[in-house]
């Protein structure tokens, strides 16, 4: 059981986050909630990418006085490359969220509602 948790809990969590986010995006009509759902999908993807580079016995990829990353010529740290890619992805997710929220503010000012269907009806 502990083995199962160590190996799969983060992957299952990442998958659950993506599923929850997709469900929110599909079932809600409020634009703000759709943006929140997209954010949850974003978090799930980031968690997935970090998790596949991790194993339970790995150490953090930072050299400190007590933290040796290489033992007997073998690297024992977690994979730093996906972590750096996720660092990029987080910042870009922040930027896109800010832009989406700004556009949502504009939509509310024009239509007086954030409901996608009411916006569609008001358009006709």
């Amino acid at each position: 059981m502990v083995d199962f948790l160590q190996n799969w809990v983060y992957l299952t969590g990442a998958m659950a986050l993506v599923g929850i986010g997709l469900y929110i995006v599909l079932t809600n009509t409020n634009i703000f909630r759709i943006i929140v759902g997209l954010n949850i999908i974003d978090s799930g993807t980031n968690l997935f990418i970090v998790t596949i580079a991790w194993h339970p016995k790995s150490v953090m990829p930072i050299y400190t006085a007590t933290n040796n990353l290489v033992v007997n010529g073998h690297v024992i740290s977690a994979d730093p490359l996906p972590q750096s890619l996720v660092l990029t992805a987080i910042v870009i997710g922040l930027g896109t969220t800010a832009l989406a929220l700004a556009i949502a503010v504009k939509i509310y000012q024009k239509y007086g509602t954030l409901d996608v269907r009411k916006i569609k009806e008001g358009d006709r």
Binding site: Q6, M15, T51, A53, H55, P80, L81, S84, L87, T88
Partner: protein
Amino acid sequence: MMSDTPEMVKKVFAIFVVGILIIGFFMVFTQMPKGNEVNVNNTVSRFYVMKDVDHATQMLDKGTYFNKDMVPLRNDVPYTPITFGKSSNLEDGAANVVTSIVVDYRGFDTLGEVTVLFLAASGVMLVLHGEKRKIPKKKIAPSEIMYVGTRIAFAVIFLFGIYVFIHGHLTPGGGFPGGAIIASGILGLFLGRQGYSPNKAGLTVFESLSGMAYVIIGIIGLVGEKSFLANFLPTGTIGDLFSAGFIALIYIAIGMKVGSELSAVTNAMIVDTEED
């Protein structure tokens, strides 16, 4: 059409779509190594950790690195051990390997990332700018404690943000989290004062200067060294504050840029809701 469909059917359909996605995920899981089998020694990241990318690239050039059977990487690359606080003049002097990838080995990526953040911030300001902005009146004016407290907290938060991005090559953190911390301090000022507005011209100047500083550092690398964004400073001893060459300089530029950009976004986001 769609609006006639009962709510229940839609939710079931959504669960169905999500279920298909989850099944797809599980199919990936069957192909993946288990967590305790992930081995960094078989991936490119090994050379980032060992700070030996240049040597590996030379082996690649000689054609001895990959073979036709797609055995991914050789494990017999000679390795010089790295000791914290002693090893000096490494290929990349950052103790934080993630930072060394983000800023040094893949610095061009990070320049693109900063550009994306800049575009998003200018998009927000383009969309939300133009209408006559009334500073929103708070229903309950912030008290004296709030006013003084946020200003004291701002000083501490500002210092901590600067600490985080100056030590980006030694500890977790770096320019992006440091900038976000500074912007959160500015958000505190918004909460604590009636009608607060930061100096917009100052934010713009900071943002432009730090963005230019990043590109100028890259061009110095192009002129003085072999490539754009190449490290032109000595790397020093691993673990020292003054080590890792230009990484600290770039992270200072990124921290100032992200801090001023997010502050400007926060400023633009505070829109009058027209409530009495």
